[in-house]
Symmetry: C2
Subunit: 393 residues, 2 copies
């Protein structure tokens, strides 16, 4: 048994919150397809989601959730999830990647045998790794069930973090800082991007002396030279130039809890507009931090930022932040709170927001971010590192 | 512009092969949702698939494919894909992760405006980042289209590798060997798993002096101690013990082309059954290599392996290999050829198979694999490293 990241009581609270929402929506069974949500509910942890994998939560208090995945991976379920062995279920190997039968056929039969085939079922319909074919086969195998979209039901339960979760996010923040420092250290003119990424990832994964680092849901992005205009390009063997602005979008992860941290480096001489834009972005971050507190709407935080950059004659189309917490690839955002116009979510203590101010211009870019905890009275920046552009020649 | 991994002629051949199959199936448009297939067809490369992203291939010869993704990432499309700017299309930021409108609404409108709204459309329905909701919205927005399942159409085109692809797989094999050697070097009693992974990933990513390494579609797995019974568990801060059998399942990646390589290490004294099982596995790999050649069926290769291990009184439920090539997380298998009973695919020159002989027993496990190219006359093992259990005290 691998040590669970949380005590059993924490999982009980999560289930209670999820079931309260299920009852409100009159759901008798929840089908959780999002891997981060599966982990949040069961503790299950493994790189097994490339074959269908689901977690079932019956609405009855006290009933354990059920993990169902590939037979080969049920062993990992027994090692990592907290449920009894009867609720860690493997579908047979003969169902893996076949054309004539599908794991969801088997899972539907299992649900019927369990007596849940006639239930009103909430199901996550926009989870990564849950395909249209899987959904069609599940629905086809449960003709007596009623299906209701339950996307983000669990994600919205996740938006308020417990003290134990915040503790992991603090540790993750230390690793995010270490990753940025590793980047500052290794990147210089003539160094290859791939060699820089190797050093950065090593810092992320090795972690600290006290705890391990985990895989980040997005790989490190270091955007230099003309690539800096494109926010999600991957590294190559390109060498950093003598005069280059480099945006670093990194993270630290402890037991799947993710703190994001973006900073910008300058090799050699910056273009004049880099310095001016950096000034706007730093002032914008001050406005974000001055605004973020309980009772404020997500869109109000964005408005405060926008007011600053408009004064500098700048514009940004995309949102400037999102809820962050437990994460698996390909995304560390929780898909709930977004700092953008129209998001009327009222911030509350325990929310954790990764506010990322990325300006991708024509041939260069600047990014600065913080992972911010909403506290009872205001906020606390979990990530701690000077925000100014890090100059190096 | 980032240098394309292949010349334009290679992409023309790929499109020709895909269109031949589209014509055979009477498809007028192909909707490619698999990220590896998108890259295979367009060269597009970026970590942007956490919002909907698709590639459209009209059946007409000479027409360019169209990449559609988040507006922010169209800049990356211009840098990495070979099409003209008109065929790199961004949906507006206002469609990102909203509840009332969906990127696929916008994409459906785009398809209608293009005049393709009444077409017979082949669509990949089991791609990792294509959700049931995305599919429903696309179908809803194209009421005059006919949809046909086109899962694996492109994957089956990919099963025969070109000389240029094989060249990348050779380079990837060098990095896979370097990753295993790094593991041999760093792992010893008392070392933490996370520190070992940091070293292994650094070797994978930094690559060689001549070329960069890329992210592996599955993270490195090192299975030691009781975790070895579970094939896809992630690392932690656990320390390797004095007497431990450790299965290493690693890879090397060059320009997204992946070579898999699994080996087993022994710290201290092995249990007697480890030595016996290793003997069976090594003999089994000889049988795999003696059988793999053009004209043989995939299931015949598995039968040769099974014959060997049955002689040792062993059994393995899961397949012993699969087609491998271009890959993105979460999987490096191509979901086409599988070495298992019932797979009657006839092997042909240019197939590349990752044959992985993994025996996960109760509390320990052994893995040995090779990435094998089917040649005109037989096969060539692309990965080159002694197969015996690597003993270290």
């Amino acid at each position: 048994m691998i040590e669970l990241p949380f005590g059993r009581q924490e999982y009980d609270i999560r289930l209670r919150n999820i079931r309260a929402e299920m009852q409100r929506r009159n759901l008798e069974l929840l089908v959780i397809n999002d891997v981060a949500n599966q982990h949040y509910v069961t503790g299950y942890d493994g790189w097994s989601f490339y074959t269908p994998q689901t977690v079932l939560v019956p609405v009855e208090d006290g009933a354990e959730p059920v993990w169902i995945g590939r037979a080969m991976d049920a062993a990992g379920g027994l090692l990592t999830a907290w449920m009894t062995a009867a609720n860690v279920v493997g579908f047979p190997e003969s169902y893996v990647q076949q054309t004539d039968h599908h794991p969801m056929d088997w899972i539907a039969e299992w649900i019927v045998a369990k007596g849940w085939g006639g239930r009103r079922i909430g199901i996550e319909l926009e989870a990564y790794y849950f395909s249209p074919k899987a959904h069609a086969r599940l629905v086809g195998g449960l003709p007596n069930a009623t299906f209701v979209d339950a996307d983000l039901l669990v994600n919205w339960v996740r938006v308020v973090k417990s003290p134990a979760e915040i503790d992991y996010l603090r540790k993750a923040s230390r690793l995010a800082e270490a990753a940025v420092k590793a980047a500052y250290d290794v990147i210089e003119p003539g160094v290859r991007e791939c060699d820089a990424i190797a050093r950065i990832q090593a810092a992320q994964v090795a972690g600290s002396r006290e705890f391990a680092g985990d895989i980040t849901a997005l790989p490190p992005t270091i955007l230099g030279g003309e690539n800096a205009s494109a926010p999600h390009i991957m590294w190559s063997d390109r060498r950093f130039g003598a005069n280059e602005t480099i945006a670093l979008e990194l993270a630290g992860v402890c037991r799947r809890y993710t703190a994001g941290l973006a900073r910008t480096m300058q090799l050699g001489t910056p273009r004049p507009e880099v310095t001016e834009t950096a000034k706007a972005v730093l002032e914008g971050m001050e406005a974000v931090l001055a605004t973020t507190k309980p009772g404020v709407r997500a869109e109000d935080v964005e408005a405060a930022w926008r007011k600053v950059i408009e004064r500098y004659g700048l514009k940004k189309e995309s949102r400037i932040g999102y809820s962050i917490g437990v994460a698996y690839p390909p995304d560390w955002g929780e898909h709930t709170i977004s700092l953008r116009p129209g998001d009327k979510t009222v911030l509350q203590p325990g929310n954790v927001i990764h506010s990322i101010l990325g300006m991708w211009m024509d041939g260069w870019g600047i990014e600065v971010s913080e992972t911010i905890l909403v506290t009872d009275s205001g906020n606390e920046t979990l990530t701690q590192l000077p925000r100014e552009i890090h100059a190096k020649s």
